[in-house]
Subunit: 350 residues, 4 copies
């Protein structure tokens, strides 16, 4: 555990989550040296680099991906560029951490899968729940058989607000939000695969954008091949902050995870009991983000992760990316048809 | 509030819930005098009457229903007899409390509705959640606008065990178990009506009875005409006891209700934190059962209920019985077809 | 368990707690018939009797205590009359439930003890914590050895408000408020006896009454002969309501009891998490009050109490009354001297 | 916020807490470069340095303290050496972080105070509660007046185990354990000073070491000049792990802080509810330790700390060290005399 930073990293995409990940790479992951931040938007990378003391900013993504000084690349660009960037980075021999989703459709995922396999890439997708407080512990309880056979599962994601409804790409709620829940459900029901999906979605937060295709609220039912029935549920606007909880109910018991309170402080006054709640993902998921990046860094360095939250039962790679996306795509189809959608028993790439 | 018992009551059906209700009428509802217990099964009523100090036991239900000494009847017979018994009791001028469901199909419910209307019957159906810890308070929060417009709801019922899978009548999980959740969802989404239902169900607890038609696990999605999307979920076998929770999420906030711990005791030892959980409905719902019976008694006596849990925002009568059953019946159809079921915009009787 | 009320009871003292107990005897204890309410204050008993449908009201306490129609007496008069009333009731052959304290000093307690012994009186003192949510369960955990040997204990009583500071009799905080905590500590440290007491008290709620002798805030340290060190703490004015919690820490673990929330409802909104709190003892202790009265009634009827909260590990009789009062009296002395007070190894009456 | 480590630090004392702090300096505080680890015990520093990738290990403390390459020193040596080491480090112009206590008696504290003042030293003492989850938030609630005037306070420290009772120096429980609680109480009752202390202590965990002077369990009552009465309580052996909770009760409400559960996971099974508990200070206080070291580093770099937990309402310096020690020393006297001890209205150095 040397103090010098061993893994030289470039980050692609200086937006909101990119800025968050850049700061964590610079400050909270002791193994990584963030050497360059890149973003095609003029000035975005430069501002972030300056703020974090990163040496280099770039607008030329290709140059960064090919830079031989970099050991690894963290991709936080918009989702539609993910698969292509992963392919390039893998081809350049980099270890790759890619924010979710790893691709927009199964074809993209298969391109990612082939690139990763061909180049022996250390690859991780940003399914942060696997590293979030309580989730690895719940999985361990499942693995130890303390819950018996999973029968009912639930995962929820509620974001604190919807800044710009007009900017939300179609099907974002499934492909970019609920995909976390689909992965959480898959993670908490290990070895099982989704066989049927039914989705209901609407624009309840910003109904005036419904005609433009906005879906900001959704409930999904997923049936698994081990019999388990799961619910995933999302809203783009929770008045009380950021809400990511999950529940696994099995033949032997139940596990619940997810904390809404911001700290252990509880206030009691004339109005009764009160407490602050977690307000945003970077607050709620701060440790999970740091842990998933550190887990990636350790894997890229070829080092065993140990037993902390950096080492979940199962780090999310291509298979996890594919399995979650399969469910998201089935949701889109279910919304279109208004009917449940059967999933093929095995994925194309399995 | 005189100490003498003012409302003379007869109870029909000396099974498990009948015994529970009889004990509450005798011991926990100060206004009621339980004068007779009736059950066609030889000896059942007699045993219960003796145990509770009830003066009279009967096997002839008709005689009891016609008994002019009785002011009110509490019906805890098997569900398939409910509607007929309600009709007889109403015709005899009794106030009627009937365990859920009030009927097996909409036709039965309409017969009940007609009888109640024709005879001006004080009628209540046993939707105990409306009287259970936290539920009336959650409804009040909704009524006060503290949650904004309901968008996502959830209700769950998990029973502690499945004694005799072979004895479970078809569709029981919808018509007798989840009907509580459908009513809870309706109660927590006041003024809204279900417009679409999708149900998924299976025999996960006792799969060997699946071929015989057993369904012991179910997840239901309900869409309401105010846009809200609700999930109801049930299992016949929770290892940790009796679990009835609910959640309402709206544009202004969220309410959660339902306690799993049996008392405020928390133990901390070498194994960590532990606490006992509620083990059965009569323990968990004891106060709710007493409150719904007392609320009924006060209504039958023509007295305002006051502001305690005996007086929920809205006591469950024929409309509540019909609205919950509509959803249950749509679940049955959804299971049969494997597709979502649209509900007519208004019920036959509205 | 006959429905007719078997134990005919008279209640002495129609003040706040007397009204509460009268209502419970009339409505929530199925075995008791509250036949008479007595209070020397003109009209007080009559008003209460009318409100509850009690047949008779009286101002002549002696006549009530001697009334052969009464099986039992519940004493809710001011504390300074307790011992004398118990003596009279015992001499008249009644079973006696007496609100705490059973006497103002040890001499009074010994008079009570002698009367109870001489007449074979069924006697209970109103230490409600023994019947309150979580407390009997905590005691059971101690009895089962799950906490090992008690080493540190804590009990707290915080009342919601101080209506009339000028009306508070001297040393009330020890003799009438903290006496509940002393009994709770004794109950949770079974078999051990207090050997040293140190008390600190002040008028922090109503400092303008300090010169008149008011003490409204106190912290007491009690050492027990098994080594355990306990803290009891009280305030007459908690902004958030009624707060009665306890904690037992032993060589094997810890138990905490006491709930502050009024129901299982939790609200999450723009301000964060909130919940209502319990506002008064009759709300918080409602079930405990009913349970202690029912336990008394069953004992008076010579019937085993069963296993509910009506049957704590150890119902509070003369010994409990004496042991708690010994600590209260030592507190008074400690406040006077400013020094810890040693207690004699055994009480006068033991 | 440059990525290179700006503050070059030496650490003195490679024991348990020294190893913990060294790892945090190397891994979790982005601003610090841990350049040297020193310990007079042969091999101790070398082992730690190797494990952490620290360049230099030393046994000569004096050389390290005088090393011009170091900007700052972190002192984690045994308590009896603290004051002398702080003096030397301050004289050498280093910023100094010193584990608690900063001195063994008031004379040592005054030597520290003089050195810090004379050399303009950036000085911090390791009172981690000020940085622990919920504590700064509770202080903020006090500062904002949400609790009114503090009246009753409580702080508890229970360590998970007592490895070697024979190695515990006399009065450790006051000077090294409860000193955290005294500081927490001072922190949560800002502006107030202790005026009277009463301590009760015993060897309940390892009674066989009592004759050798061991005290492993203690309860302390502290009166403050604003009227508040506080309790501090400690045990060296909690079966369930590491327990550091606090409570502030004031005229306007109450705040409670301190979490015992290890994560948000709750398991429900046949035995009821269960959860893991926090097992050791480095787990429970991990973030607080990192935050206090980072806060120190930022102060040493002359940089404002911001608004995170690294920036409590009031960072602990010489005054905090003195105020907490005053109480600890009064406890020792109270134990010796068996009586409460008055504190002078103002400290020698104020």
């Amino acid at each position: 555990m040397p103090q010098h930073r061993e893994l030289t990293v470039g980050l692609i995409g200086a937006g909101r989550i990119g800025s968050n990940h850049a700061e964590l790479l610079a400050r909270a992951v002791p193994e990584t040296l963030l050497a360059v931040v890149a973003d095609p938007v003029e000035g975005a990378a430069a501002r972030l680099a300056t703020a974090l003391g990163v040496e280099r900013a770039a607008t030329d993504l290709g140059g960064v991906l090919a830079d031989p000084a970099l050991d690894a690349v963290v991709i936080t660009a918009p989702a539609r560029f993910h698969a292509g960037l992963v392919e390039q980075a893998a081809a350049a021999g980099k270890a790759v951490f890619c924010e979710k989703p790893a691709g927009m459709d199964l074809e993209e995922i298969e391109r990612v899968a082939r690139a990763v396999e061909e180049h022996g890439t250390v690859f991780r997708v940003g399914f942060n729940r696997r590293f979030a407080d309580g989730f690895p512990q719940a999985r361990r309880a499942v693995d130890e058989g303390r819950l018996g056979i999973p029968q009912l599962l639930r995962s929820t994601t509620r974001d604190p607000g919807l800044a710009d409804p007009a900017a939300v790409a179609p099907w974002t709620i499934f492909r970019e939000t609920l995909i976390h829940d689909f992965d959480a459900l898959n993670f908490l029901n290990p070895g099982a695969r989704a066989v049927e999906v039914h989705a209901v979605a609407d624009a309840l937060v910003a109904p005036e954008h419904k005609d433009a295709g906005l879906l900001d609220t959704a409930v999904v039912t997923v049936r698994y091949d081990n019999g388990a029935i799961a619910t995933a549920e999302a809203s783009f606007s929770a008045a009380y902050g950021y809400d990511t909880r999950a529940e696994v109910f099995g033949s032997g018991g139940m596990a619940t995870v997810g904390e809404l309170a911001a700290s252990s402080l509880r206030l009691y006054g004339p109005e009764g009991l009160s407490a602050d709640t977690l307000r945003c993902d970077t607050q709620s998921m701060g440790r999970a983000y740091a842990a998933e990046l550190r887990s990636f860094a350790l894997a890229a360095l070829g080092r065993p992760a140990g037993t902390g939250p950096e080492d979940p039962a199962e780090a999310p790679g291509v298979d996890a990316a594919r399995e979650a996306l399969r469910i998201a795509l089935a949701c889109i189809e279910s919304c279109r048809t208004g009917a449940p959608v059967r999933l093929p028993a095995s994925g194309a790439g399995r």
